[in-house]
């Protein structure tokens, strides 16, 4: 009986030690994760305002349901059909290069440079909407 009690106590001590060891190992491996909070909210009204601020793209990139402005100028619906990266390249890297003559180019470049990352994302979000259902509440 005494032997049985000793065995049970020893068993409990061993299990307790194991649990403690597990807990300790958990604590030593704990990592602190730094989560970057994205404060940029995507909204169509904000994207609309960015487009107006840029010089109103819609004077040349007309909607898809009306006659296009010029043969080489994509409509908004055509732009919206591109993936976001392509739209971004079109606006901010290659698409407009050479299209603006000397007189307008500095202004356009200044407007482009003035946009922060969130404004750029909202602008693209707004353009992409032309390919969505266009349903609004």
């Amino acid at each position: 009986m005494v032997l049985y009690t000793i065995k049970r106590n020893l068993g409990s001590i061993i299990i307790g030690c194991c649990l403690l060891a597990c807990n300790n190992s958990h604590h030593t491996n704990e990592k602190v994760l730094a989560v970057k909070i994205d404060s940029c909210q995507l909204s169509l009204s904000f994207g609309d305002a960015v487009m107006a601020k840029m010089g109103e793209c819609r004077y040349c990139h007309l909607r898809g349901d009306v006659p296009r402005f010029e043969e080489n100028v994509p409509t908004l619906t055509e732009l919206a059909a591109m993936d976001s990266l392509k739209i971004s390249n079109f606006i901010f890297i290659g698409g407009h290069s050479g299209m603006y003559k000397e007189s307008s180019s500095p202004l356009f470049k200044r407007k482009l440079d003035s946009l922060d990352d969130c404004e750029k994302r909202n602008l693209i979000h707004f353009i992409k909407d032309y390919k969505r259902s266009q349903i609004a509440n």
Binding site: D48, G55, D65, Q134
Partner: protein, 263 residues
């Protein structure tokens, strides 16, 4: 023979008065030569209202009158656009050249709005705007904060049809104006602090319209500036009756209406 008929048709279309959702006349561009273009003219906006309710829309005339007045008031008063890059305007030739130029733009149109009740699809032209009155809308939407809402009205932006639950329109006629302004290209607003704006749509609708929103609607109405040089203008066809049919039959919109009235 075919050519003669074609010629006759063209001549007839030239003498036919302009019609549609947007009819503009006396269009003029005033260039102050320091980079400001002022656009003037008379613009009539017509919205056709189709009652598809089961029990009938008894207050339709007074609601149409209030909406008409509000649409007119919101569009009037002029709007300034941000600086734009476009082609240079030659006032001597009344045309835009191929040379690029930066302009500030002032919209100064004299707007009139007209709401007309129609009883059948045959009264809808391809380039008309339409507002359908329905019994209910099953469509639910989620706002930018992840909260769910029911819809009092629904519209297809940029020239498409609009619909409003008649009971909701009776409670607040501005819901109909809100939906129609989607047709004129305005997006919804959800940001806090914008509760007093007409395009706010989370549980309430305000009444304010900003200069930028006014400019955006003017931009939609006169979408190609080169049309200003023609003197008069009416909007292109949106295939309105077909768009309305697709819009109402789309199950995801969940419209409840009297199908017998849709003829």
């Amino acid at each position: 023979m075919f050519l003669e008929n074609f010629e006759r048709e063209i001549l007839a279309s030239q003498t036919k008065p302009l019609s549609g959702g947007i009819v503009a006349s006396n269009l003029k561009i005033n260039d102050n030569r320091t980079g400001l273009l002022t656009l003037t003219g008379d613009i009539l906006i017509t919205l056709k209202v189709l009652d598809l309710t089961t029990l009938g829309a008894f207050r339709i005339q007074s609601l149409m009158k209030s909406s008409e007045q509000t649409i007119m008031n919101k569009l009037r008063g002029g709007a300034d656009s941000d600086q734009i890059i476009f082609y240079e305007y030659s006032s001597v030739k009344n045309t835009f050249t191929n040379k690029q130029r930066t302009y500030s733009l002032k919209y100064n149109f004299n707007y009139t709005a007209k709401l007309i009740q129609i009883n059948s699809l045959s009264q809808l032209a391809g380039n008309d705007f339409v507002l359908a009155l329905v019994d209910g809308i099953g469509h639910r939407f989620t706002d930018m904060y992840g909260r769910k809402y029911v819809s009092g009205g629904l519209a297809k932006k940029n020239g498409g049809p609009a619909a409003v639950i008649y009971k909701e329109w009776e409670k607040n006629y501005l819901i109909g104006v809100h939906e129609f302004f989607h047709t004129l290209g305005l997006p919804d607003l959800e940001e806090s602090g914008m509760e007093n704006r007409l395009m706010y749509h989370l549980g309430r609708v305000g009444s304010n319209i900003t200069n930028n929103e006014k400019a955006a609607m003017n931009k939609f109405i006169m979408y190609d500036l080169r049309d200003m040089t023609k003197g008069s203008y009416s909007n292109p066809g949106y295939n309105t009756a077909n768009q309305l049919r697709t819009f109402l039959n789309d199950k995801s919109n969940g419209f409840i209406y009297n199908k017998a009235k849709f003829r």
